[in-house]
């Protein structure tokens, strides 16, 4: 069963659609990154998924339970929906977590210390949150989100406001959580960083899910051939080639390299260079959004 499933989820304010018919699913142990320009609906989608806002159409299921029909579905959910995460400034970090632990039904005091240690916050745990830096508050937000061992983690810009060390800490934690079987949905602008470990990337634009890119096992090749335009046209006709586009003076394509090379040589194209290239998510995203 999918840990998180969105079925035709949509939101409109008056006549203005903000999100339209979003379908996606995240399996246990999977990291799904949501990317999209500002105003594309990422935050609205996060609010809908977490039950903070109500959809105009469709539904959001957490382990098969509708999050809007049944508040108890949120027992599976850990989330940070604001950057930096919000806490009561007059309580210490530990007291804030204690209150969250009560609301989430966590009874072990040791668990609070454990998550504080995991997010490297033990040194400031007994200081009032009002004195925390933005980065510390953001890490405390993550500590609160994982406190009750959620099965689904939903994060809006989790690395926002963090220094490079904090960013690494968060990415490391998310990978660890995914390995433990937690489904992670996060929105981000930092595509290069998440492409290292995300399994799927959903590209949002104009309130729609424009594309869903499966990153796992994705290989791209860079081809320099003459004439370039003709080679591109040929590659696009091949069923073994999933995608092909011009990048600078070369063609970037995904698919079976042997079949592509064979077809090019058969048709008399001059192949000057052909070598594998890591999948450039950022470039793909820019092209996808531009064409949308």
């Amino acid at each position: 069963m999918e840990a998180l499933r969105l079925e035709g989820l949509g939101k409109r304010y008056g006549r203005k659609p903000i999100l339209e018919k979003i379908n996606l699913s995240v399996h246990p142990g999977e990291v799904y990154a949501l990317a999209g320009p500002n105003g594309s609906g990422k935050t609205t989608l996060i609010r809908l998924v977490t039950g903070l806002a109500f959809p105009s159409e469709g539904r959001a299921l957490l382990l098969g339970e509708d999050v809007h029909q049944n508040p108890q579905a949120r027992r599976h959910l850990g989330a940070v929906v604001e950057a930096p995460a919000a806490f009561y400034p007059y309580l210490t970090g530990r007291e804030n977590l204690r209150m969250r632990a009560y609301l989430a039904g966590v009874k072990e005091e040791d668990r609070i210390t454990e998550v504080l240690a995991r997010l490297r916050l033990l040194a400031v745990a007994d200081q009032k949150v009002g004195s925390y830096s933005l980065g510390q508050r953001q890490r405390l937000g993550l500590a609160a989100a994982i406190l009750h061992r959620p099965k689904v983690l939903v994060l809006d810009e989790p690395t926002s406001g963090l220094d490079p060390e904090g960013v690494e800490l968060v990415h490391g934690l998310l990978q660890e959580m995914a390995r433990e079987g937690v489904a992670v949905l996060l929105s981000t602008h930092h595509l290069e960083e998440v492409s290292r470990y995300a399994h799927k990337v959903g590209i949002l634009g104009g309130g729609r899910l424009l594309d869903e890119v499966v990153l796992e096992g994705r290989k791209a090749y860079r081809l320099e051939a003459e004439p370039l335009e003709g080679a591109l046209a040929l590659l696009k006709t091949l069923p073994q080639v999933a995608s092909a586009r011009i990048q600078g003076q070369a063609i970037l394509f995904e698919g079976e390299v042997e079949a592509a090379l064979g077809a090019l040589l058969r048709e008399g194209y001059r192949v000057k260079a052909l070598h594998p290239q890591g999948f450039d998510l950022k470039l793909y995203y820019q092209e996808r959004v531009k064409h949308a």
């Binding site: 609010r47 039950g51 903070l52 806002a53 109500f54 949120r74 995460a85 009560y102």
Partner: protein
Amino acid sequence: MLRLLVFELYKLFRLRSVQLGLLAAFLLPFLWALAPGLKEAYGLVLASGWQVVSLSLMAGMEFLFPFLVMMAASESLGSEVAQGTLKSLLLHPLPRTRLILAKLLSALLYPFVLLSASFLGSLLAGLPHGLGGFYGGTGLGAGGFAGVGFLSAQEALGQLLSAHLLAGIVLLPLAALALLYATVFLSTTASALAAVATLLLMRLLVAFPTLTPFLLTTYLDLHLRPNAAGLGLPLLLIYTLGFALLAALVFERKDL
């Protein structure tokens, strides 16, 4: 639920408007006890400390206490929206109705705490005038401040406790109304202003005599007219319940 209520109470009494309100309610009686123009304003020459207590209640209930109660109820939700902590609370498997109920109960308790602060401050401010029996009245019983003869300390205390209790009940629907607006506007200022505006609008409806007995504003001085409690008390409680129910309904489907 009890722990949630205790936490809501803790948060309520951390609010600056609540702390300032309690301080004002406690200190203002000292000002009334020393005010030089009481005779001109209220036709009163202080004969007893009990009159300081009733004077503080009357003056406070004119505008200050209702405003403080509406402000506190508005801020109990509005401050959480402004801080962002409301979203954090609702990310837990906590029914929204339970949260708003805890906020409502704490907001409904506040008027009684506020009036207790005023009562305590008034007693201390009235001490120099004596808290024994006296010839005169509390302004809450027969004969007003002039009274109808000798009033024992016990009778005065009884009248004042009963008036404070009624005043507390008068403030309940105002707290519920402000919380209702807070769920609609999710803003402290907007909801407090909307609640004040609603009361002002209701006051204008006195021009419709058939409506008057059913208006909330008709009973805002119930502490001065205990004989109107027969219709007033049930109406105030109905208003409170009605506003609370609406607040719960609005909050249940509110986008955050």
